[in-house]
């Protein structure tokens, strides 16, 4: 390339490799957790919803069950999240 062109060249843009890595980190972690998810999870989620419904009105989407395998720590975590509607009405 010519001398002028060389000096006119823009500073190289920060490449996209960083973004690629970030996206992969998220998707790979997600796929690992769904691979480790036990088959009984949806059934258990339904039963938890049924139990809570004895006491208050919630929709079946208000209970979230997540299962994560912590390969490094040699433990698995079962996370049950119950989102209660703001003004839940006790029976």
């Amino acid at each position: 390339m010519g001398l002028l062109q060389y000096f006119r060249q823009e500073k190289p843009k920060k490449g996209s490799a960083k973004l690629a890595k970030d996206r992969l980190q998220i998707i790979v972690a997600h796929e690992h957790s769904s691979a480790a998810r036990p088959a009984y999870l949806p059934e258990m989620q339904k039963e938890i919803v049924a139990v809570i419904r004895k006491y208050m009105e919630i929709s079946s989407n208000d209970v979230k069950c997540e299962f994560t395998d912590k390969a490094d720590d040699d433990i698995s975590v079962l996370e049950v999240n119950v989102a209660l509607p703001k003004q839940h009405t006790p029976f």
Binding site: G2, G15, A17
Partner: protein, 270 residues
Amino acid sequence: MAKVIVVTSGKGGVGKTTSSAAIGTGLAMSGAKTVIIDFDIGLRNLDLIMGCERRVVYDLINVINGEANLQQALVKDKRSSDLYIMPASQTRNKDALTKEGVEKVIHDLKADGFEYIICDSPAGIEQGAMMALYFADEAVVTTNPEVSSVRDSDRITGMLSSKSYRSEQQLTPVKVHLLITRYCPERVEKEEMLSIDDIDDLLGIDLLGVIPESQDVLNASNLGEPIILNQECDAGKAYQDAVDRLMGIERDLRFVTYEKKSFLSRIFGG
């Protein structure tokens, strides 16, 4: 002890066949009796890369179906006396590849004194790929520094630890190696391409080798000569290093950093 090594990736076109041919040839050159099996039923290519396509008579499916015996189907390499190729069928449906059939072929190859049985997997995660990895003792997960390839490598690594004979029988897990191919140090330097460290972080598999992107690979396939036989070129040397590591010899990584061209050579097109 004979070793069954699958060369796999999930994603297609990342360099499995190129790597199977190079690694198989390298192992045979060390004096170990080696066979490379093409599991890509319907799309055989290993014969072309090895340059033995005109000597193929019978194939893996013929052997499984009892239409030919092992000796009839094995194609002897014309360069190394310790190397054989088992071609894939070009006509059959991949369902012809049964677990029992593959097991018997591998058993008979071991009984015949083969020390390394290299399985060149087809792309994907269907029957062909599953059968190629099922009996593996070790796996070479071939990965390009590119998002879809890395994701698929992670996926196939999961299959190795859950869908293989070793996992099902709760034996020592398949030993998984990462082989990064088509690596461009210059693009990594410019942060356009995932680096070795990035891929290592993401996959967490032991690194077996890094093969640079190289025009010599196309040339080798044109000639039907595995790239490892070209010890003049970087890719050939990088494959040799990988084979040495597979046999337990320590080798430093080479061809992974970008040598910036000097100011003058850039101006004058050096």
